[in-house]
Amino acid sequence: MAYKRQIDRLPIPPKDAKVHNVTCHYCIVGCGYKAYTWDRNKQGTMQDNALGIDLSEQQGANGVWMAPSMYNVVKQDGKDVHLAVIPDEDCVVNSGLGSIRGARMAENRPSTVTGTQQQRLSDPLVWRNGVHQPTSWDDALDLVAQVTARVVTEGSEDDLVVSMFDHGGSAGGYENTWGTGKLYFESMKVKNCRIHNRPAYNSEVHSTRDMGIGELSYQYKDYELTDTIFMVGANSLETQTNLFLNHMVPGMRSGARFIMVDPRRSVTVNAAEDVAGKENVLHLSIKPGSDMALFNAIFTEIVSKGWVDADFIASSTFQGGIAVAEDEAHPAALGSLEEAMKATNMSLADAAEICGVSAEDIAKAAAWIAEPKDGERRKCVTAYEKGIIWGNDNYRTIGALVNIALVTGNVGREGGGVCRLGGHQEGYYRPSDAHVGRPAEYVDQLLINGGGKVHHIWATDHYKTTLNASQFKRVHKKRADMVKDAMDAAAGGSRADLVDAIVGAVNAGGLFVVDVDIIHSQIGANAHVVLAACEANEMNLTSMNGERRLRLSEKYMDPFGNSRPDCLIAAAVAQNMERVLTDMGNADYAAQFKGYDWETEEDAFMDGYHQGNPDVTYERLRAMGNNGVLEPVIGYENGELIGTEREYADGKFTRHGREDQKALFCAAGWRGWQAAGKAEEEAKYDFWINNVRANIFWQSQFLDQDNDFIQDRFPYPFIEMNADDMAGLGISAGDLIEISNGNGATQGMAYPVETAKSGQVAMVFGSPAGSQGNIVSPGVNELVLPDYKHTWGNIRKLANATPRTKAVSFKSKEYTA
């Protein structure tokens, strides 16, 4: 049954409703919205309302409309108020477009009145008498500090393992990365830490940075000004929806061609064909993992044809051989164009063989990217994401792609750029992480091998979003259960008895787990203390989007229950550490935990981001509204923050920190499968298991597990499959199927797709109802970047379609005109 809201009328926001700037906190694009709040007993009229339009008239296409999902009743200053969160027509990012995620922000707020998001944590929980029990902040924080302080003083800070988000939006942002960063990188020097979606504390794009080019250097407007959009391993219509609709589509309508590199045909390819015409879209459906060979052939072809920007190469790139030698921290040498080409030389014919696409199409791609147009340098935006970030040979592959942008001078120029498309917004401001080292510790393996005694987890659910997840879960649970058993055995005793019991258990191989999150997550089931956090708009939050657009997303409601901003939780942990260490007689160490006397998130912002960016304050950001300012901020004049339209517009490259400010080319030599075990796995199993994302719950799936509209559409994670392959295995649409290999097994719902290649399936990533990470091998690159994308397995039917999956549409996701 399709989900029906059975709503046929909504309250009308009155003219005097409070208006708040909101940046959608789900994906990296960060669309602008306006939140309206007003008293429960007030309403506007058809003619006199906050939207300023005559609501008694049917609004036309593209008109302003408040959908039921944009409405809720929430707490504000302790009172129930109406809330409407509506796309902002004046925001240059989305120009009034809402996404299927952002346009549900209101509905996905916790409400005790409408009953939405009752999965949200309202209070801290502690493992007590065999279950998770609600408790006070003082009680929970004391236990965290008592155990953590004992363990790090009896052993060392290396016994504390931390998993923490590094992103903006959601529960991230400059306030919260600073709070956690100050705690773990300034008060302590924790080196055994990892980021929310990968098993180490590292960059996903080391090579572009080492080449001097930050990964978000352009602005979205460049897509409207370019001749060619060159997209690799991304699906922007689903995962950067309004970047595609509001910037790439206008670019194509103005004549830009579109190249997609992806083994799978996605809805992005289909939409590009509709907009630009099939003759202006080139989909290079390469063999999985062969991207670097393709890029090297395009690079070689461009150089051999002379379609290079010689002046730019001479003035802005390194001359004279090798600048950085290949070593443990650099999986490829970096240096001059000539030096790189010694390693990257690849003929069209060789690449065609490796990639499984025609030499003609590769040559065509090179021409579309670089062949001069009307005697002028052709403009090309290069955009990439998880297809290569979580792909084969991350460092060299991204380096090989950046080489193409560099050699054609498409960096720092209008209509150019070589940028990742991104997942979350960004919002990283922390003390130096230099002590972590490079390569960083492979933290998942450390935990699996018995390392670490205390595990602090911040908005990270390894159960859904790590590789080798089957083994990780087994070990993590077993070690956490040792501590739970010890705590149960100490029931009724004093706090000192309890701490002794926990410390005894962790010294015997157990793991004490503290989970900070907005919901009781799957890994939270292993926790001994759960701390209840809130997210954007329940606090003020600053982040920047995929074009470095910094905005303040304003608080318009109270945190749910007694939940708190992450930065203030980090501060409270620090204050408790200071108190406990003082009581332990360790005054010097206790003093390291001073400096957290923050009352609000703004205090954390001023303590962190503002110190490095003194022009930026909440007041000034508020005045900049939903269009904000493009980072880096370089001044404040006439009441406005002054930003930076494009990075590297002066041809000086700085991301690597080199004094010569020259960009480096990457000697990205092709070497087949890089990560251990991939070639063997490919040979052993029948299906390539791609992992993909879906518009409907991209970056909101953790909340959408409690959203009826979403659960109605995909009650189980979808696994897109070729219809003949399904028939061969006796699988029908909606059947529950299992994918297994030597790493583990996972489950999902078979979704037949006409365009799916035989032997290739696409499973949605990160689902709470079937983790694709279960079957991903532990293989990583030299810098501990996981290759989630290259996984093979066998498939079998588990069960017939359930009533829920039978009720779902299995038609093509591709729009037809």
């Binding site: 046929d8 058809m46 809402g98 509209f709 729009y815 005109a817």
Partner: protein, 172 residues
């Protein structure tokens, strides 16, 4: 695969003022009644609008309709086999709003796979599964109209499952 013929024909009918006479009058009358009511009901009163007679329908041959008023275009479909929310002797007659609940674009009917498609932003809806959004940006499924068939085979629309794009109330 394009299948615009039926839709284009239907759209012309719609622009001419509707496939079924009397709809606008019925809606206007109901609006007037509601405005005069001293105590509005907790739920909306929809007009009962005759859309067509079963005898007028052919399988997979869409008829353009207007409901609850002339500003709200929709589509009436006989699917040929029983479907969710279907009425009539075969349980196969359904009706939907054709304003995309994302940004209000007029949806095209693809008779080949029986979906309604948005030319603005590529969303699509399954007319055989209660208007479920197959893929897209809308935050709800397509408003499905509540239908009644009388003894003579006349089909009436008398309600809607979801809010129609571009209005704060389905009955304005």
């Amino acid at each position: 695969m394009k299948c615009n013929k039926l839709v284009d024909a239907g759209r012309r009918q719609f622009l001419r003022g509707g496939a079924v006479a009397g709809v606008g009058a019925a809606a206007a009358m109901m609006t007037g009644v509601q405005a005069q009511a001293a105590t509005p009901g907790a739920q909306l009163d929809y007009p009962s609008t005759k859309l067509a007679n079963i005898a007028d329908l052919a399988i997979n041959d869409p008829v353009d309709i207007e409901f609850p008023d002339a500003d709200s275009p929709g589509i009436l479909l006989k699917m040929g086999e029983a479907v969710e929310g279907g009425v009539g002797p075969d349980g196969d007659i359904v009706a939907y709003s054709v304003l995309c609940p994302h940004k209000g674009w007029y949806l095209n009917y693809n008779g080949e796979d029986r979906t309604l498609n948005c030319p603005g932003h590529f969303s699509r809806f399954d007319t055989e599964v209660g208007g479920q959004q197959v893929w897209g940006h809308a935050t709800q499924n397509l408003p499905q109209f509540t239908l009644r068939v009388d003894d003579s085979g006349d089909i009436y629309a008398e309600g809607a499952s979801d809010l129609i794009f571009g209005r704060p109330s389905n009955v304005l």
